[in-house]
Amino acid sequence: MGQQFMLPDLLNEVPIGIAVLDIEGRIKLVNRAWQTLTGVAPNSMQGLKCYLGLRCDYCFKGCPVMADKADFQTVSVDADIIDRTRTKIPIRLNISPIVNSNNVISGYMETIQDIRQVAELSSTASKAYSLGGLIGTSPEMVKIFSMVPSIAGTDSSVLITGETGTGKDVLAEAIHNASDRAGAPFIKVNCGALPETLLESELFGHVKGAFTGANEDRPGRIKLAHNGSFFLTEIGDLPLPLQVKLLSFLDDKVIQPLGSPRGFNADVRVIVATHRDLKKMVQEKTFRADLLFRLNVVHLHLPPLRERGDDILLLKNHFLMEYCNKFNKKIKGFSKKAAKILSAYRYPGNVRELSNIVEYAVNFCDRDIISSSHLPAYLTEQDILRPVAESAYPAQERTVPLEYSSAQSWDDAEKQMIMDTLLKCGGRKGEAAKILGWSRSTLWRKMKKHSITG
């Protein structure tokens, strides 16, 4: 550029607080933004240990400079400081080693950003009945909402299970956003979406020439998630050879790109999700037991929508509002029949299916109320209201207080339940059918199915 610039003057113009530390963690230089945020007088901190000037909680919670670590990668965390006006300020803190030409750490660069506005925004955005993009008031969901902040505070692996469409991806992102890693990347990989050979290079990266077609170095998704969270969805679809490699990564946190002799130490929080029964897969030897034990540190199970009670109503109205805004429509609500159909439906596709149904209805609705004719045909064609009529018996009448622990499957349990009820009623089928909440013909059909005579 042909001109000489004074580095401190340049740094003063940067709106982010910057401190340059020597190898012992003593402050060599701070810029104006750093002084403004901490409230210290100019030059009063020079030569002092960083923690005396910054007064950040991270200084006492594992700061690599304080711990005198010889080698570490850039650290990015959400923390807080107490400034000279006695105000506690939430900050985003970055610490990077400064490496000299001999590849030896000669100091550290520290940057701090005031994130008060972000913190305020996120607190107003979160409502009592929602977390991230998840909404619900059912006890199961409230329990999950209450668990997320404490889980987010740790770096433990998280296993999320639940049927398709229950919100596993959304929950994973909510955990990332609630954690100290929120400022760093959240990288998602679907194990079922790529063939095995591609998946390995996608996850762990490769170097140029590692295989035919490897024309350039590729960092791999895990490396891209450094300092952030790495989300592996459909972990049940991960091929066995890659399960071994993932296990090895979880053990030592070092990734070995294909064809590279050097590993990379990745500071990554691992979150995995699946709709499959991993324990059953372990028994079938299609999933490694040691990987399951490694991943199953914190287990969150998202219940299917049909078990979430009034959440259907809440979500239905939420999606109605969302799609009305999106499509610029003025729809007040659902007709009684449409609401009844939506409440009675079993939702095999869970929240995603409900969202799609409401989107369809909003698209086709030309009035201010969504009626049953605006719902997808498959909802109205089949008699989905029948289960509601069947379940109209009071719960206590249907409940048979018996233990089925010895049953191997639902069929066994059902057979045992029928036998027990028949015994209780002295073989009177009409009375047994009433207790079980079935019609006489249903009982007869099931008795025939289980070869129960009499």
Binding site: G47, L48, Y51, L52, R55, D57, F60
Partner: protein, 111 residues
Amino acid sequence: MSHKIMIPLFNDEVAPRFDLATDALLAKFKSDGEISERIIVLPQASADDLCALATSDNTDTVICGGIDDEHYQYLKWKGIEVLDDVIGPVKTVIQTYREGNLVGGDNFYIS
């Protein structure tokens, strides 16, 4: 008339953060010039616990580094003098305090 002070500790220095200190020095200056000192180790860092310790011990002065306004005002309300933003080794700080020269914001690492 004796005088009691409390200093949250980080090793042998005044703790940079009141709310993150797990040790606290309680010193009692007797009128005959004798000093008795004891160090209390808290089960976990807690500004509330330190405030409770200061009030239950009838502390006259708290000498600390950074303290948030809520706890600062609470201690003041309880009639406890707070000298905050103090940076330095505990021994030097106590010595300066005894001489009556310590004020909030003192930094003993800068001459």
